[in-house]
Amino acid sequence: MDANLLLTSASQSSFPWLSLIVLLPSLGALVLAVLPENEEKNPNLSRNFALTFLLSDFLLMLAVFGRLFKNHQEGLQLIERYNWVPSIGLEWSLGADGISTPLVILSGLITLLAAAASWKLKSKTKLYFALLLVQASAQALVFLSQDFLLFFLAWELELVPVYLLIAIWGGKRRLYAATKFILYTALASLLILISGLALALSGDSFTLNLNELTNKSFNGGLSLFCYLGFLVGFGVKLPIFPLHTWLPDAHGEANAPVSMILAGVLLKMGGYALLRFNVQILPEAHMQLAPALIVIGIVNIIYGALNAFAQDNVKRRIACSSVSHMGFVLLGIGAINSLGISGAMLQMISHGLIAAAMFFITGVFYERTNTLSIPNMGGLAKVLPITFAFFLASSLASLALPGMSGFISELTVFLGVTSQENFTSVFRAITILIAAIGLVLTPIYLLSMCRRVFFGPRIPALATIEEMNPRELTIGLSLVIPTLVIGFWPRIAIDLYETSTNAIAQKLTEHSFISLTQVLPFG
């Protein structure tokens, strides 16, 4: 497709709303940086400042996507394309469709709440909140960028604040965890870059525009190679087995608000990129490797759940449960039909809310008890009944209780796999059987954690701690209420992305389903 045609087409946004969404937090970070140092005099200035910017950014997102984004229109909307560095073909190219919109809104909400959850942070507040603002910009850019290089820059840019947030404000082994995080993701980025450039360079024309890449066709070997590169690269973020081991360390050491961002935003980037690159740009390779994705997915589900059950640290346990839940995203993407992809999308949204809620509540009681070790706890419910209610509610949501968003997303994934006629019945039956075992394991590790932390006789030493305050209540409710609303009326979320996921699924059906046995040497 001619790039100029797109540039002049009517879909070009009249006002660069998306750029504003992306740049507003960065602007905040810049202003914050030049503000005079007065941490002693006015310690809350940078916090309030960051909160204002994040809140206005979030409201802006709601307004822009609420008023200007049309759910039922296919393809990209609110497109902006400006040449940035023409010599290397880099463009400032933004656009939103059904799979980016809900994730942008989700990440805006989570970052805002994470900033609010950092209320009591005392050390180096200015740097902390500036990093949060940079992170907010980078993540929005990841979801909205329509140019490969721009996407890649954003992907790398977002690593820096997260690395620093873990390395400076983390727990005892924060350096180890932060280094591990940066090593994993940086090495993975290399694969992303190589694969992306290989695709951009292949064929007659050079293009970095994702839309144009989607319309390009690649030869089998190259697309398979790039697919695997992307899979490993994005798989680290998702994370997929066996690339997940950075996650429990990162969560174990990061403070609660950073964990909220890790679980609520960073993991979603992996899933988003898999959909955007592996599925949309390389549909043929995706059709070939979909069964392998499903296998990895069920390994994730079971392996993550078993690991979670053995963890003795609250945050590490929730981190492993994320590994398990992200398995459903892989399962949905591997199901290559509209149900499966829709389920994967909803699972990302739902897990973003639920995991953030769990990490937030964990932070609430960690601030009061200063321990995360499950064997050292017990009887918290007696002193913190409302905290208990929130933790229990998010645990129940996490174990896919109907009426909460996790149920409908996992159910949709299950239905997607069930109704995929391209797989043999035996394959589908085994997949669903094993994945459903995950549904039995989830309550075992989550409810036993609830039991050991909250149930039981009261511990006298904890008698004086205070219950959640109104600020914490608001944060908790902002995460739990959307979970319930989506659980009761899933179409609120589904309507946002349904057109896009249907289009992706439709496009996949145009490609033949090639047996793995023809691809793999040992088949």
Binding site: S338, A389, P402, G416, V440, L447, S515, G523
Partner: protein, 668 residues
Amino acid sequence: MHSAAELAWLIPLFPLLGAVVVGLGLISFNRRINQVRKPVAISLVSCIGISAIFSYAVLWEQLRGVPPVEHLFVWASAGNFTIPMGYVVDPLGAVMLALVTTIALLVMIYSHGYMAHDKGYVRFFTYLALFSSSMLGLIVSPNLLEIYVFWELVGMCSYLLVGFWYDRDGAAHAAQKAFVVNRVGDFGLLLGILGLFWATGSFDFNGIALGLSEAVDIGAVPGWAALTLCLLVFMGPMAKSAQFPLHVWLPDAMEGPTPISALIHAATMVAAGVFLVARLEPLYSHFPVVGLVIAVVGTITCFLGASIALTQMDLKKGLAYSTVSQLGYMMLAMGCGAPVAGMFHLVTHAFFKAMMFLGSGSVIHAMEAVVGHEPILAQDMRLMGGLRKKMPITAITFFVGCIAISGVPPLAGFWSKDEILGQAFNTYPILWLVGLLTAGLTAFYMFRLYFLTFEGSFRGNDENLQKQLLADAGKEIEDEEHHSAGTLHESPWSMTSPLIVLAVPSVLIGLLGVPWNSKFSFLLNPVEAIEAAEKFHFGEFLTLAGASVAISFTGIIIAVMAYGLNRIDLKKLFAERFPSINSFLSNKWYLDDINEKIFVKGSRRLAREVLEVDAKVVDGVVNLTGLLTLGSGEGLKYFETGRAQFYALVVFAGVIALVALFGVLGPT
């Protein structure tokens, strides 16, 4: 003018609204809501009351023969696939609606007295409203998927209510066990639903039944697969209705407050499994083997529950095993292809068992005044006795319950149980024999409960016995809480009046189902009812009924001799002569031990080993630190044992095998 059935969707909605409003209030303005506990409770009770009025209107319409109503809407969609939700009102649902709202209302009134001094009073009422809403939603569900939704929600409410006193370790364990065991059942149910969807493309009860039988007929779905799917779906009812071997959660669930045991764990939620099997009757009727499996499972459960109930010393646990046993009878009826008989027993049992549980609550309430709030003391019958004189209303209503469940004509239990036994006699005579034997056991253990609790002399002030009981349970003796200050007294009116109200149907409701003119089966299945009435022979009825009445009286007489008149010493006669059988029964067939050893410990060990693999192998390999640790002494030591290599080998061989397997099997 709308008909009541058109408005049936409001029935679950009223309590839900109440629960949501109060729940949000509890979270946001906890102290203020707790200050106005009474108005809050009254408004929640009114929510159920309104639902009850609607339910009776619906039932009245169904009795007048108004055709069933069904409404659907699209809940979720993807591509051209939609998930329909909605509501359906038919005679079966109408009966259940009326039953659940009635008992929920009575239990709420009772709870006002029972929970009066509890700090969680408002929370308790909120949970009750939430539960009622979910249960009512389950009843009006028009398809399997919606049933699954509410199925899990009632399970959640059960979890919350069993763990209501969250500072008790026992409650915490019991709640978790209840949820997990039910999830095991739901695992089967979900697989079954998905499988049936795969086979028929439908979630609708009739759609599934028609689709599956057609698919089997044309060979699209092999017979064994259809059978497997039916049995997988049955796993759900097995867990929810406490059928062997998934019954293990129900006795433990007695850790919850007693009104909950009456409402959820005797009358309504545990009956949901039976209800679902009744809903699935069109499907199961195509597969006689499934019927046989259900009947056998029901019979085993029925006998198991009764046999364990023989030795229980805890009043509530005794009643719980009795519930397990009675649920077995209902399943037996379902397996015999007689859902009407099973549903009839469900209804009668709901009334008299709820009454007895509430009665036991009244007893415990009184005992707590004497022995303190430790359930090990307050619920143990060795400390009771002679309560009839102090609390006559409780004693009389409990006695009514005993004769009703024992099958003494013309009380409710006689008609419904006899109907089931009659059906079993015609279908599977061997199962009938077991059922008949169990009827004798039932009569015996119920009267044992009655005599130990209400007759004889009061033993609650025996300090030595109290200490011994606490020591047996491994609890420490707390002196300060141990002042037996209070005296026994009858419970307040809010607790006794529901007992009296429930006693009326316990006596009379059976008359709606007399076999020669069963109004109940005429409502649920008019064709079958007319047929049954035509085929009815007094001779056959009297023989079978005579047999079951005779065996009931045998049980009652033995109980009277042993516990009422102390003429025979069962301990010498039986327990000491057959110690192995006695310990087999008092250890609940060792099922809890097996469960603990294999599943609980096994899963823990597996998880620990996986974590070790994760930390030492997966992490190591990906980090490439495996090479580094090789250099250091420790790494060498670890590798020398060969465990790391072994684990690594297993993991990677496993993954490669899976990939290869799916590569071959996967794409068509």
